[in-house]
């Protein structure tokens, strides 16, 4: 019997193969394009051969930089991840505190929610010059950009998540004799934490965006700094591996956060084993 296409489900193996297919196709298309261009002009820098990409990776990852003596890729990664990590941690903390306060307490919501809503509309890139002027060109301005870039949206998201908790639960807690602090501590916050992780996962992409933008403009190390530095020499053999590396880092961070959430909050994932 023939089913409609919306009702046909791929098996597990088929799904895995299908999932890998676009990656393979992209790789093949690149290898082919690179070969065609290099045949026409061996000096072409736009699409380096896979072998020269591998050589470049070896150079930046395994050989000490001639000027600084550092392993360049790892030094850049460490610098970027430190900025990103601090930024994400501060933004999460701000989002949690503000989200809980505005989500739970009507007076705080009345006072802060409109402000946060407007704040989230400020284009972070537009205030980057201000950050450089105020905080200097050092680490602080980059971290602040990441925080200002993602925290307001996370605050709004968390407020929404807190307000979405069924009011029945809050009433129930009150009929059990809990006061506001106990409701915050035992009922609302534990249920907000997995939602905070969700929010953080969704904001990893924007966080990397703001990090790389800040590094591109003023920095002495970092993944974004490197990409924009070697752009001057059309060094695609460095840029492409860096882009893949950044993507991989973001992907791994997303996976790790998902893993943490499943391990720490099993009740949150029961009955919705998707995504």
């Amino acid at each position: 019997m023939k089913k409609r296409i919306i009702n046909r489900l791929p098996g597990q193996g088929a799904a895995a193969v299908l999932g890998l297919l676009p990656f393979l196709l992209l790789l093949l298309a690149y290898a082919w394009g690179s070969q065609v261009r290099l045949e026409a002009n061996p000096e072409d820098k736009l699409l380096p051969a896979l072998s020269s990409l591998a050589a470049a990776v070896e150079r930046v990852a395994l050989e000490p930089n001639r000027r600084t003596g550092e392993l360049q890729l790892w030094a850049d990664t460490a610098a970027s991840l430190q900025r990103l990590g601090i930024g994400l941690a501060v933004a999460s903390l701000l989002a949690l505190v503000t989200g809980l306060a505005t989500g739970m307490v009507p007076y705080v919501r009345a006072a802060l929610a409109p402000f946060v809503r407007v704040l989230s509309m400020v284009p972070p890139m537009a205030i980057l010059p201000i950050l450089f002027i105020v905080f200097g060109l050092g680490e602080l301005s980059k971290v602040v950009l990441v925080v200002l870039g993602i925290a307001p949206c996370m605050m709004r998201d968390l407020q929404q998540r807190v307000m979405e908790l069924p009011s029945e639960q809050l009433v129930k807690a009150q009929t059990l004799g809990a006061h506001s602090g106990q409701i915050l501590w035992r009922v609302v916050m534990p249920q907000t934490l997995p939602r905070l992780i969700d929010s953080l996962r969704l904001n990893l992409g924007p966080a990397f965006l703001f990090l790389i933008a800040a590094e591109a403009i003023a920095a002495e190390s970092g993944l974004g700094y490197r990409i924009f530095l070697v752009r001057r020499y059309l060094a695609m053999d460095t840029i492409l591996p860096y882009v893949v590396w950044i993507t991989l880092l973001a992907f791994l961070m997303d996976m790790a956060l998902r893993g943490v959430s499943r391990w720490a909050f099993p009740w949150f994932h029961q009955g919705k084993e998707r995504a």
């Binding site: 129930k172 004799g177 809990a178 099993p266």
Partner: protein
């Protein structure tokens, strides 16, 4: 004996629409009042007033001769149709929570011997509702009936004077529902609680309660459906239950239901 709950000439209005009007009621300790009526006849509004979530627009609502507190408190327990239990706590923690919040005023969390004692009490309560086998499970792993048993245990651990049940068995299978009826009746007889239970099912109301309250709109006006509120149209002791009466109430309630449906 003085009445536990006294409702005198209570009106509840939202803007120009009148939900409840001329509500008068006096309930003694230990009564089991079942409340029936169609949707939109103020049953839930009345329950929210008993909880303290809403106040009357006019009239007075007295608990033990004093005005009803303006927010929910531990003397009035509640079981909703859904979302009554905390999804992030195990079955045992859900019940222990009620003890922890009073015994640990700052954190709402007990440690060591005090914690063991509270957990033992909670486990004993859970045994009464038949959940001894599920202490460490999360609510999402329980069936609908088990979740409602948990919600009842959770409410009863606080020894409330009044237990409010808001269509607690509406989403359960018929067989399970009969089990739950037996459970509620047993707990009610053992504890001497005063129970208010909202139900859609008139038969359930007759079966469980000692007193049946029918919320209905005595006047239906197609031109101004919200001009007249609902009130208690029947207030009867259930021992004088007669099939003819049941039919009469069912007829009146269905008429309002059809009227609402056409608005």
């Amino acid at each position: 004996m003085a009445a536990l709950l006294e409702v005198k000439q209570v009106w509840k209005e939202y803007g120009s629409s009148i939900v409840l009007e001329k509500l008068n009621l006096s309930v003694k300790e230990g009564e089991f009042c079942t409340i029936v009526g169609t949707s939109g006849c103020g049953k839930t509004t009345f329950l929210r007033m008993l909880l303290g979530e809403e106040g009357p627009t006019r009239g007075s609502l007295l608990l033990d001769g004093k005005p009803m507190p303006a927010e929910p408190g531990p003397d009035r327990g509640i079981v909703f149709q859904r979302y009554s239990v905390f999804p992030h706590m195990s079955v045992l923690d859900n019940v222990t929570f009620g003890l922890e919040v009073t015994r640990s005023p700052l954190l709402g969390r007990l440690f060591g011997g005090a914690r063991r004692k509270a957990r033992d009490e909670a486990a004993a309560m859970l045994a009464q509702v038949g959940l001894s086998q599920a202490l460490e499970r999360y609510p999402s792993e329980l069936s609908g009936g088990m979740q409602q048993r948990l919600a009842i245990a959770q409410a009863l651990i606080k020894k409330p004077r009044i237990l409010l049940l808001d269509e607690p068995f509406g989403a359960l299978d018929p067989g399970i529902r009969a089990d739950m009826h037996a459970l509620v009746l047993r707990l009610w007889k053992e504890s001497g609680l005063t129970i208010f239970m909202i139900t859609h099912d008139l038969k359930e109301g007759f079966k469980l309660g000692t007193r049946l309250l029918v919320f209905d709109k005595p006047r239906l006006d197609a031109q101004a459906p919200n001009r007249y509120g609902a009130t208690i149209t029947y207030d009867l002791a259930i021992d004088r239950q007669e099939p003819a009466l049941l039919e009469e109430i069912q007829g009146a309630v269905t008429e309002t239901s059809r009227f609402n449906d056409q608005q």
